[in-house]
Chain length 294, copies 4
Amino acid sequence: MANLGFIGLGAMGGRIAKRLLDAGHTVTGYNRTRSKAQWLLDAGMLWGETPSAVARAADITFTMVANTTALRSVVEGPDGVLDALAAGKVFIDMSTVSPSFSRDLAAKVAEKGAHMLDVPVSGSTITVEQGNLSLMVGGDEAIFEQVKSILLDIGPRVNYVGKNGQAALMKVAINLSLPVQFLAFSEGLLLAEKSGIPRETAYKVWMDSAVVPPAIRYRGPFVLKKPDEPLFDVNMMQKDLLLALEIGREVDVPLPTVAVANEFLTAARAMGLAKEDFAVLFDVLARMSGISNE
Amino acid sequence: MANLGFIGLGAMGGRIAKRLLDAGHTVTGYNRTRSKAQWLLDAGMLWGETPSAVARAADITFTMVANTTALRSVVEGPDGVLDALAAGKVFIDMSTVSPSFSRDLAAKVAEKGAHMLDVPVSGSTITVEQGNLSLMVGGDEAIFEQVKSILLDIGPRVNYVGKNGQAALMKVAINLSLPVQFLAFSEGLLLAEKSGIPRETAYKVWMDSAVVPPAIRYRGPFVLKKPDEPLFDVNMMQKDLLLALEIGREVDVPLPTVAVANEFLTAARAMGLAKEDFAVLFDVLARMSGISNE
Amino acid sequence: MANLGFIGLGAMGGRIAKRLLDAGHTVTGYNRTRSKAQWLLDAGMLWGETPSAVARAADITFTMVANTTALRSVVEGPDGVLDALAAGKVFIDMSTVSPSFSRDLAAKVAEKGAHMLDVPVSGSTITVEQGNLSLMVGGDEAIFEQVKSILLDIGPRVNYVGKNGQAALMKVAINLSLPVQFLAFSEGLLLAEKSGIPRETAYKVWMDSAVVPPAIRYRGPFVLKKPDEPLFDVNMMQKDLLLALEIGREVDVPLPTVAVANEFLTAARAMGLAKEDFAVLFDVLARMSGISNE
Amino acid sequence: MANLGFIGLGAMGGRIAKRLLDAGHTVTGYNRTRSKAQWLLDAGMLWGETPSAVARAADITFTMVANTTALRSVVEGPDGVLDALAAGKVFIDMSTVSPSFSRDLAAKVAEKGAHMLDVPVSGSTITVEQGNLSLMVGGDEAIFEQVKSILLDIGPRVNYVGKNGQAALMKVAINLSLPVQFLAFSEGLLLAEKSGIPRETAYKVWMDSAVVPPAIRYRGPFVLKKPDEPLFDVNMMQKDLLLALEIGREVDVPLPTVAVANEFLTAARAMGLAKEDFAVLFDVLARMSGISNE
């Protein structure tokens, strides 16, 4: 069993850390708000006072934080992960961040003699719990082989993508489908609704059809009833789309449906819905269809 | 067990008829090309020389044909289904056709004293075989209740949508997602590919992610290798989108992603790809990205 | 000087008929509401009791009506233009109608031994008065040469396009730019406005720039103050776009900006703005930008 | 008459400087390649060895360079304009640059005790020569009033927009129309062409219509024959659109037609057309329509 560190014990990170504990690994954890990690400490997790303390204690350190800014704050500075990395250590970032930031960070990790892998995931908190999370891996393939069995303790589908940053990029390439799929779903529901089919009925039939991706299956109910808190809000979704659009321009790939979805996310913000789950794309289109949806 | 008729024994219709035979029903079948139905005759199906002969022999007659034109050809004229319908008979059309045509046909059926239900399905031939087909039902609810157990012999999810034509409309509202989802999928794959990730790798990781709807799961492989024959070609897909766009204008629902996808289907036709599976949307976008994909 | 007939004496048709009178031609006119033509009768125009009476009296008969439906009503039936056409007569339709309807009508005219030209125009009532109207001509080129000098009495730019229906098509191909240009104009204005530049200022600077087509020059003021009555309403504009989209599919030309503009016209209708000048596209986009514009 | 400096004597800048000379002003000029300014020296212009030399010699210094990067290179460093600015001097930038860069530069100018105005223009080299250039002005209104008569020597339409950076922003808001209008123009031409109207004919009729903005009037011919060198290439056009899209997200204005045009500019780059005039949007759409246009 391995000696692991885990930084970022939120909804996703916490559940992943739990799976590592359940698999029998030693895990030293750190979270900005310690109280949120109490259930993991109760389950046997050790505590590190800072990110660097975790990375010093562990052979392999994971991070799973909200975005590029949050990642920077846990890796840089005297308390940061970088400060503690040294030859032989492995650093695995599972956050969804800018591919170029991930690549640059890997270079800094290499300067310390350590190795970094970018290992973003596809799935929700429910997917983690069911043991169905999908992982994609960027970095040195030999290092990947060393840690592969540990990654398989997290989820059953682990794919090596390529060099550092390529898995981060692949995550962006996958995520861009989310708002596009949701917008098409909304178009269909509103078409049915304004043709006289009750929204609940249209929703139920849609959910029984062959066009429902898992990511809509758990977000779709939000068109009937807004969630207490967003799974992934408009601002976060747009940040991912902007990364996709930026890369699209760099490598010269037109992204026609992404460009459309992005403008609708902007409309959502203009309507004051920036902090709602991006499922409010339905509401934006409903307003354009003359339905107030209040 | 019921006394059924089934007209249109192609890839989908044949498999559905087989499930009805397997459930113990008497089935009289008709297909334009009789030889394609031999396997069903071998399995105990009876043969009707014309659509009207089938409808005369059966209490409940199903049709499952390619489109509105094909449906018209089996219901109208002296050999057509309409000619044989009479009080107490039920006519169930499972084809994907124009909602307004379906509504008009139901009125003609009613004039004969019989009842029509529009019962389009969501799923592929594989879905039928797995017993996972989803059915949506339009028409008189009391009639639906009468035939419900037979519909459940076809697939496990049967939803009543509303009056005649509403299920046909719901099918259009669902199908519009298909090319949009495929286009977003293609954008992601090409973004990855032009960033240096091999297409096969990007494809595999995408297929392991949480954004894959079943309809892409069985069509996705076509980006690696074209199918021997299309599951659903560009012309057919565009016909569905045009129905959606027409209804969108009638009931005033903007369909932004559908409008984009429709123009790409037009581009596919301009490039000579009208008879390919609509998965060639990937190729259209690849050409716009400077990749020839030959 | 020629012996002319003119059917449809509204805002455009009336002004064109006046130019023909001013050029010294004999003009027999007809309008559904006679009172609206009084100013032309005062200026020497003769009156025909029906479209057929006009066409019987004249060697060359013009029509300038609202759309395909209106054209049908003045050419068909016992009082219609077709009834009066005979060998040697020329029929010139200036309305904006479906190219296929125009082509079919030309065939019927030819059966009578007469000749038809489709001669739609580009410009507004102001353009006619300034003598700047542009005319495009479809039909037999020899017939065009016969009537060319009369067409030049209407406006200075007269272009032969091709066989019957081709000028009608060309008109559609030109008109499709209108809502697209207006939408881009609206995007620019709102970008400026939400960045703190007063709408009036942004409008004035825009109007002084090199990107203003004449068609926006006279419609642009509507973003500051709605017109008393629409020059060209949302429904009419969308009818033209639908013709364009339909032809685009027939001849396989993707129309990406037209497809987007068309969905915004649908949104305008959903918001109850169908009878407003299509300049309300600005208001639709303003609402999507969180500005109520009331 | 005023004592002026002018930095950047290319196609646009040179012609503007000439107008200032013609109006009787003293002009000290600087250009990276001196030989290109010989015609202005012949016309009486004085020479400054560096940007700072120009700004030291003049009371009012103009810059007209290609983009933000070029502007930075002439204002910063020991030879830059900033170094020479002092109380009482006015600095007028006419380039099309990022509004935020312009705003920041104005602050640095103010620290020197001098004043900056951003004065981008709308029009082409032909417009300048005809004396029809349109100027928009951002900055302190009192300073604007001081220099207004000099700006009127350049072109007849001079509009005060607002504080520093607002004119730069207005320019972006105007320019975004260019590729959208050109794309709609291309859609119309291709619709006509694939319907059987020769491209030359369709082009001529279009140019005679009421939907032609000046900016298309001089660029339109490129669909018949590529220019020897681009007026404004795909990369430059896309840089402007990206500024527009970025501002759109900042102030929450959806830009649906701009987003579409931007993806087509990306397609142009993918097809190897980055250095062509952005009129190649026609070629991109032609390829999507199955026309090779070689």
